[in-house]
Subunit: 137 residues, 6 copies
């Protein structure tokens, strides 16, 4: 059967700051600039989840988009939306919540919920001009 | 010569319903939900056709975009636009018109018209939030 | 208090055909072209609902966007989504479902649910290139 | 001379929470839901500044867009970007930083810097699906 | 009958430079900066034509969008596309081709072709971040 | 460490014409149509620069986006913006400034400035409907 990638968009809003706990405040300010602001700032994160696999000949689906939509809602949107990533999510207690690291965390959370016969890719827009892609490698 | 991908966007509007002829109406309703609505619903399909190959040193083109634009118009837009996919297009008499299957049909229609030295990829948006990609594998 | 317009986007997918019941099929085909296709075609309708009024000094809101979002979902998205407008919605039994007429129907449905101190405007995209605006006049 | 509106887009990222200082935490949670999260959340705010007036016959400009761009940068982007609106900006010490109130604050800051012969309108996207418009009335 | 605005998007690509023939080159460079570059630069202009009037009760249309689309093509796209505005279009022999002035020229060209019972508005994007609006006043 | 792609958008406006110096004007007109217009036309080029590599465990970055943004500004935006590609840039004295060839030139200019452990990909939109991708192969 043909191998197709299905993609679903979602979004969430969150606050964060960039900060390495092992560095001084001065070095954090040097490296991260205003992104290290102690009072936090925030983003509308736009997310694209991409799942690749063979078309099921009975349904015509690679994966039912309603199931994928619900999975993204329960695992990602409900978990990240209107949160302070540094303060409220245990994944970022020591991990710096850069777009790169957030995309890896999202990939890991979804990977456990999606059939391993299907490849998984995460695209995450931090702003309309900055985005990252993670494929699990 | 450098290998570049050229991409051209197009669009068409069509009606469809998701339905497996070999299943009962109840099973179709179970699996496809309101997408199985007997009266059909519809979409604005946004299409991106991607063609990859070496740059021709005389023209600077991988493929003349005007030719690609005209080809997409005659082979895809004129064929799909303002159609009921289930009722009017023979490809979907027994094939369920999911975005996945439509992308494969579009790929097959264009593949016969484009030089085989050029790779072909189809991206099809069923809605601004759902889209599929098919590369011919 | 300052007068501000708050706007909320939503969307639904539907099938329709353009058709005047009082005309012959030939005249319908002449006027509406392929939009009169007897098998229907469809669109992803993108909707913007705009509500104008004074800011409430206690909440800072003109209207709570969560309430507006829920109202659009229950009154418009649930009613129009995945429907055949001509066949399934009584408003269009004799009214031609052009974008213009759909925008008026949406305005009328929401007008009864929103405080009359607030002005109401409907913007409806039939395709990314065609859209209409109705303000109730 | 013809009267034209010129529009310039800009953006900034900020953290905020919705909160009325005169209410209990419970009432704030009731009214503002997860937007009242004590740890803040954030947005990419997209801003459109619209200036209306007669075309200057010598330049063909209503207002030099480079001057407008620089004004938006110095007065708005530099002031709001990567800030916590509740904690760091005096305008929001007692004013709830809803999109409505932010649009009024932006309008007031720019109004003092732009020739009063020119009308001023602010459009502010809090998310791609929620936006507000303020014209100074 | 309800009064609705119908909007149609179009686009064209053109070269221009900003220049006042009555000024010295130095003054042009002072006022227009790199936009005065003697070798020209260019833009993808995105155009929205908005027509407001009563819905025709027989068609459900304010104005047939196919007719509007064809009119924009013949009067605007074919006239402006792939042109050097300063060198090739007589309207800009002495008129500086700013976005403001181009919007007025487009309005005047279309105004003569559209029923005067219908109001006409032009929105012209010079870049995704800069756009102008002209309503004929 | 995980391998992630970071992407940054930028843009510039330029004039060009498509032309092969070794051909007659007639042959140029035949092959390039109105794109060969001797007076030039122009575009808003939208650029996405994509950089792939391992996340640095100390910063959480693949590459500091501020550095990438500044690099794109100094090497690409400042070099191409408001230029006539054929007349003013030495790269296109004999190379036809098609989107394909421009993407290769951009790639080559950035490749010398970015750590060779990082892969580099260029996506260049000539119009919202035409774009090219070059990965260096």
């Amino acid at each position: 059967m043909p191998v197709v990638t299905v993609n679903r968009k979602a979004h969430f809003n969150a606050a964060h700051r960039l900060y390495n706990n092992e560095w001084s405040d001065d070095r954090n300010a040097d490296v991260f600039g205003k992104c290290a602001n102690v009072h936090y700032h925030g983003h509308n994160y736009e997310l694209i989840v991409s799942v690749t696999g063979e078309i099921n000949p009975q349904t015509g689906f690679v994966m039912d988009m309603k199931i994928l939509k619900d999975l993204i809602k329960s695992e990602i949107e409900d978990y990240f939306d209107h949160r302070n990533l540094n303060e409220e999510l245990p994944e970022f207690k020591t991990l710096n919540p850069t777009a790169e690291n957030i995309s890896v965390v999202i990939w890991e959370k979804l990977r456990t919920k999606i059939d391993t016969k299907l490849a998984l890719k995460i695209t995450l827009y931090e702003t309309p001009r900055n985005f990252v892609v993670f494929t699990g490698n």
